[in-house]
Each structure stands twice: as structure tokens, then as C-alpha cells.
């Protein structure tokens, strides 16, 4: 392996080209990217897939289960009609449920990631750029926030805050629960990003181009927009690629504990929580959603790793 300096001396390419080159050289990066894009497309285009395969997340196939709720046929009723089998007891098409569920799960994970990034960026830049009192206050506040047992707080605040959201009339039922998850994930998520951004901004702030811009009399806003923001993209991209799978599995975990979206609306977590009851009697229905979640998280983690290695080679060396 080349050391960082050696590599930079040899090539004269832009950082972006370098990053892409490093990304391509990673054996798993491209497959992970392809699978991730495929998953995202499947989730976005779920309605199209329903109509192509003739499945429906809300329809119950009475012919797929007998009158005691047991699946007719082997391997969880996998067939051309039901590619991933059916849900025992109720007769839903598993694939359709999972696609629908993944849409909701992604909605939560993507929105929470977005809000987290906005908050982390805002407070990270404020603290790192202005330093002094502002930095102190933000720093103490993040310390304070990180002192809370987050996992437990998310559980404990769920019922009362969902109730609050509903009573305020902003959202109802599952919309309120989705909103709660997005808010609470973001509230406990931003301090991590803000710390990373802060240290990044501190180092940028002292660099020559910022100092010279300031000497030329550029305003704070201008410096922030033109000089600082474009230089914090790397940590943000890495953070996003890792927090997305993090939020996806968090949603599953909280669903298992009964917090979050309520059936009949599916999410990946809701389906997995339901499938654990069939662990022994319907192995197919248990394994398909669980393995899908693991693969999903795996692929995004791999992609995140590869991105980090490509964009921030020091971490890999």
C-alpha cells in the first residue's frame, strides 16, 4: 500500500477522482453500491413491483392458508404467486408486506438522518466557527444530552410524547408514531455528528484560505457558505452512510419492544417482531424478514465503510 503522501505525489488528479479511484479499487464497494441502489429502487418503485408480480400488501389470500391459519404448501407457501411465501394465520403476501414495510422504515431512517445532519451541521459549525461562549454552551449541552440513557429514554418517552403529538393535532395514529421516532432519533443522534463537524471546522478555520478570506474582509456568512461548508462534506457523507443502517435497525429493535409503528401498518421491524412468534412453526416466515434486514444493514454498512475509505483515506491507510 502507498502511504498517503506517496500517492499524492504520484498522481495529479482532483480529490474527487482520487476518491472514486479508491472506491473502485475496494472489492466489495461496487457490489454493495449496486445492491444498495437496487434496494432503494425496489423500495421507491414498490407499487410498480406490486402490479408486475400481482401482489398486494393489504390483500389476504384465503386460499394460501387453511381454516386454522396454517400455510398450505411447503417452505412457507413460496410459489410464483407468493415469491417470499405468505404470513401464517392471516395470509398476507410476505414480499408485498416487506416492500411496504421497507418504505415506512426507510421513510423513518432517511428523515431521521436528514434532521440529524441538519442539527449536527448547524451546532457543529456554530461551535467550531464561533468558539468561545457559544461553543461552551453547545459543548455542555451535548455532554448533558449524551449523559442520558438514550435507549431507555426513547422507550420511556414514547407513549407520552406520541400522546402529546396527537393531542397537538400535528399528526395522528401511525403518522404521530413515525414523527416521534424521527424526532427522538434525531435529538439523540445529532451530538455525535456535531462533535465531528466541530473539530473539522476548527481545523478548516485555521487554514490559509479561510484566514486570507477573512483578511480580505469577507463576512462570516460568506466564509461559512463558501469556504467552510464545502469542506465538511466528507464527514457528512460518511455519517449518513453509517447512520442510515443504524436507524433502520433501531426501528426494528424498538418495534420488537412494542414502540413505534403499530400493525396493521408494516415496517421491517413490525414484520420481524411478528415473525419471531413463528420461529419454530414457520421457519420460512421467520428467516426471510430477519435475513433481509441483516442483508440490508450489511450492504449499507459495507457501502459506508467503502465511502469512508475512499473519502478519508487516513482512517484506512
Amino acid at each position: 500500500m502507498f502511504s498517503k503522501e506517496a500517492e499524492q505525489k504520484i498522481t495529479g488528479h482532483s480529490p474527487r477522482e482520487l476518491a472514486w479511484r479508491r472506491f473502485k479499487s475496494n472489492k466489495v464497494a461496487l457490489p454493495a453500491l449496486v445492491i444498495a441502489v437496487f434496494i432503494i429502487l425496489a423500495v421507491v418503485l414498490a407499487p410498480v413491483i406490486y402490479s408486475i408480480l400481482g401482489i398486494d400488501p393489504e390483500a389476504r389470500d384465503a386460499n394460501a392458508i387453511d381454516n386454522r391459519g396454517e400455510i398450505i404448501g411447503d417452505f412457507g407457501g413460496i410459489s410464483w404467486k407468493h415469491p417470499f411465501g405468505v404470513v401464517p394465520g392471516i395470509g398476507y403476501d410476505t414480499l408485498a408486506r416487506m416492500l411496504f414495510g421497507a418504505r415506512v422504515s426507510f421513510l423513518i431512517a432517511v428523515s431521521a438522518t436528514f434532521v440529524t445532519v441538519v442539527l449536527g451541521l448547524l451546532f457543529g459549525i456554530l461551535g467550531g466557527y464561533f468558539r468561545g461562549k457559544v461553543d461552551g454552551v453547545i459543548g455542555r449541552f451535548t455532554d448533558f444530552l449524551l449523559a442520558f440513557p438514550q435507549f431507555f429514554m426513547i422507550l420511556a418517552l414514547s407513549a407520552p410524547l406520541v400522546d402529546r403529538i396527537q393531542r397537538s393535532g400535528i399528526a395522528h395514529d401511525n403518522e404521530a408514531r413515525i414523527l416521534y421516532l424521527i424526532i427522538i432519533f434525531s435529538v439523540f443522534g445529532w451530538p455525535y455528528l456535531s462533535r465531528i463537524i466541530r473539530s473539522q471546522v476548527i481545523s478548516i478555520r485555521e487554514r490559509d484560505f479561510v484566514l486570507s478570506a477573512r483578511a480580505l474582509g469577507a463576512s462570516n456568512t460568506r466564509i461559512l457558505m463558501k469556504e467552510v461548508l464545502p469542506n465538511v462534506w466528507t464527514p457528512i457523507i460518511i455519517f449518513v452512510s453509517l447512520s442510515l443502517p443504524g436507524y433502520l435497525s433501531a426501528e426494528a429493535v424498538f418495534s420488537y419492544l412494542g414502540v413505534g409503528v403499530q400493525p396493521p401498518m408494516p415496517t421491517l421491524g413490525v414484520i420481524i417482531a411478528d415473525s419471531t412468534h413463528f420461529m419454530m412453526n414457520d421457519a420460512t416466515y421467520f428467516f426471510i424478514p430477519s435475513i433481509s434486514l441483516i442483508l440490508l444493514v450489511l450492504v449499507f454498512n459495507l457501502l459506508g465503510d467503502a465511502l469512508r475509505d475512499a473519502l478519508d483515506p487516513k482512517s484506512e491507510t
Binding site: 392458508i65 391459519g69 394465520g89 412468534h277
Partner: protein
Amino acid sequence: MLKGKKTLKVALAAIAATTLASGLLTGCSAGASAGTITYLTVQDSWTHADPQRNYTGRDIAWFGSYLNRTLTAYDRAPGAAGSAVVPDLATDTGKASNDNKTWTFTLRDGVTFEDGSAITCEDIKYGVSRTFATDVITDGPTYAIGMLDIPSAADGSSTYKGPYSTDAANDTASFDKAITCSADHKTITFNLKRSVGDFNYTTTYLSFGPVPKAKDTGDQYDLKPVSTGPYKIKSYKAKDQMVLVRNTNWKADSDPLRAKRAFPDKIVVKFGVASEVLDQTLLTDKNKTAVSLDSLQPTNLTAVFGADGKPVKKYADRAINVYDPYVTYTAVNVKKLNCLPIRQAIYYAKDFKGLITLLGGQALAGDPADGVIKPLMGLDYAKTGFASEDKDWKPEGNVDKAKTLMDQAKSECPALYARVTDPKQGLVYDAPDSPSNKNASAIWIAALARIGVTVKFNFIEAGKYYAVVLDATKQGDLSRAGWAPDWANASTVIPELFTKEGGFPMSQNWDDPAYAAFKQRVVANLSQADRKKQGAEWAALNTYAMQQMWVIPNVFSKTQEIWGSKIGGAFFWEPQGSLSFGDLYTK
């Protein structure tokens, strides 16, 4: 009684015939006095271990078998014989006088607490007094407050506030008059404010059992109650386990009901077992001397029971599927759904087949109910002409009929019609939070969507469910419910469910135009002396309530129990709706 909250009290007409003999006959001679029985439960602790707070059929059966003796008890026998009342601490089943307003029991010789001190009349009197401390002794049955001859204060509560009250105005004098003890401390007399012909059934409740005043720790008595039975508590820790060992001060000859049946040397209850782990432990016979305190999850039922509802060969002698005392139904909040055609439309649109399939089919879930009285009730039951007897009713729902009724509702009650068909509002359905109810919600939502009605589910934590929905201000439009009679008279069903004064008035039907006539007939029938006529009238009133669709009945329900292969002596104890725990032994 609430589903899962109370016990069934099936009073047999002929009580006298059944004595201790029948109990001894079923006391399996095969049982060896040795071994450890391990009970498994998903619950983190007993709801209550304090005898004055214990109010769940299963728990009363368990504590009554091992730890708590009462004046009278249900006989421990399979079938209808189990519902007979036999003497326990008392020498007989009580002597009534003064038009059933005075009841006298005499204590046996040699009955003691676990420390060896004799149980006296005063101990029982003290135990009963605790029921009146409603701020500390919560959740327990309050029969003592309702029946004992103690005046009521202006707000309707008793003037006696229990033994903990430091208030000078506390009416201890009235309590001392309501329960009196003989000079030899062996005879206890209850003076009631009204005639109670079957008071000796009431005294089977553990809340009429003794508590030694010196050992009473108020709220914390729930953690270490003093035993009077063949076992005593060695340790009890919530989320962990309870261990019972033999009570060396218990004398078998003072306790014919439990003598020769106290088989295991040690009894362990493991709390907080994850539901899937619990089911699989029993299904795979991992622990051969384990007994489940919970029913199997619906998802695992079909592995144990065949299509005919009988256990498959592998489980033939260690699982049962029996009718329990309950009728389950959807209570209709008539105050909110004050439009008969809409209630009828919901009844016809309901997808009974889908709901029953989810629970493992009719052989396991139970038969479609045609009212709130179970055929088991004999005299009081007659077909109402609904459900299977209704030619318009279909198991998967009759959408056409329901739509016709909705059209009728559109002109008859346009405001309500507009609300239930508005996707933004719709109906609110209350249900306890459980995996099977969550799946059932999907079926309800889909079924009513077929007639353009929106349903929203309000899942309430199971332990708090009835506390919430019985609060009229918090109840939704429809609520899941179940009820079983306190004893074999529908006087503990129809008035409880459908009158304003009842104990379970979830239908809130007293503003319904059909109510006044109904109420009159109920009141008249309560004082009907001819039991046959009374029964026929209860059956007619059951039909009447159905015609008004004050409830949408679901099933005459069944329950399933499972135990390890090295457990013997198991039978279903009908009055408590659970296994007869005290008869179990290790093979």
C-alpha cells in the same frame, strides 16, 4: 366477571351431596410425595400475593392450593363436581340464619399459620378488615364492603376505612358489630346488610382468609404473605422466582381438602420467561416437570392440537383444550353509536372466519357466540337466533346485507353515518395490546372497509385495559371484552353488563330508547322466586340485548393448557378456569 380477572362461581343446586369423599377419590394415589414442580410464566411477578388483593381465577386457584386456606373452598375435582363448596378452615359450609343475613362458621381444631400459632376468629376478622383499607389494599374483591352490615357515608363509601386508618372518625364500632367472635375464638359470625343465600360461595375468596395482625406489613404484605397451607414461601423476588417449601407446621389432619395431595417437596415459579422461550420449553418438553401458567400463544397452538381440537399424539397426555367460563364480545358504546342500523351493519360486516383463523380455528378459539350467556348456563340459556342461527349471518361477513343497513343508516342517522365513513374520523376500537390483537386489528379494519367504515385501533397496555375502558370518558366506540358469570345464574351477567348500576357496563346503553323497558324487566326478574321462570326471562333478555346490538358477540371461548411429560394429576378445575394446581405431582 372480567375476562381473566375473576373466577367462575358455578353454584350447583345440590351442594350437600358432594363432600370431602369425592375430593379424596380424585386425589391421585399415583402421586409420590417428592420432586420439584416448576411453573413458568411471562409475567414478572404475581399480580398480587396478598390474599386480600388476589382477584384472578388462576391465581386464586394457585394460592388456594398451596398457601392460603379460607373458611370454605371449591372442591378439587374434575367436571361439575369441582364447583361444589366444601369446608376448609371451617368445620362445615356455614350456618345461615336471620333470613340469610347472619352466617356463622366454626373453625377446625389444629389450624395454624406457618409459625405454628393457631388461627383464630380474630385473624380472619382482621383479614377481612383489610379489604376496607381501599387506599392500601388495592385491586382486591370488595364483596366484604358491599355485604357486611356497615353504614355508608354520604359519598357511598363505607364509614369503616380499615385497620390502618388513624382517623378518629373511623367507624371501627360498626365493623366490630358486623363481624363477631365467640369467647373461645373459634366461631365467627358475619352480619350482612341484605340476604345473601350463597354467602358461603363468597367466602371461598381468599379475601375472606386470615391475616396475623402482628405480621401485617400493609402494602408490602404482598411480598411475603403468611401461609396457612401445606407450603410456605421460602423466597419471592419479582422478575426472578418464587420458591415454596413444605410448611412444617401444617397438619394434614386439620386439612382434609389438601391432605394426601401435597405431593412435591418444592415448588418453583420462574417469572418473566420470554413468551417464545416459554412455549418452546413446554413444546419440546425441555423441562419435564414444568407447567405453564399462561395459555399457549395462538401461533403455537396448531403444533399441539389437531384439526379436531384434540391434542396430537405427541401431546396426548400433557395438553388439554377445554371450554372456559367466558363469552368474548365486542362491547358497543351505545352512547356514541346511537344508531341501530350501524350497529347491525358492523355485526354483519364482521369477518368472524378471519378472526377465528388467526386464533387457530374454531376447534381452538371456540364457537360463534349468539349472545352473552353460554350454553353451559343451562336454565338461563336459549338460542337467540343470531350468529349461526341467523340466515343472513356469514362467517366471512355478509357485505351486501351490511351495505343495505348502512344505506338505511345514511337516512336515519346521517351525522353518525358521516362520522364513521369519514376516513379522518371513523370508529375507535379499544383492545388490549397483544400480538394476536394487533393482527386481529388488520382483519377488523379490512372487514369494515368493505362497507366504507373506517376503524382506528387504540391498543391499551393489557394490565391497564379494563381500568381505562371502564372509564366512560376514555372508552372508544367499540371495545374488546369478555365476561363470565360469578355463579350459575345470569343475574351475574345480564344486569352486570346492561344496566347502569352493573359492574361492567361497557355498553353504556342507558340512553337507548329500548333501555327503560329492558331495565324494568331486569329489576322484576332479579326478585323472581321461580328459578325456571327467572332463567327463561334471562334468556329472553339476552335475546333482547342482541336485537338492540348492545354487544357484538364473538365466541363461547376455549382455553388450552400444557404441562411437562413428568407431571401427573392434571385436570381442569372448572370454577377457577385453570388447572387444579394442588393436584399436580411429579412422575
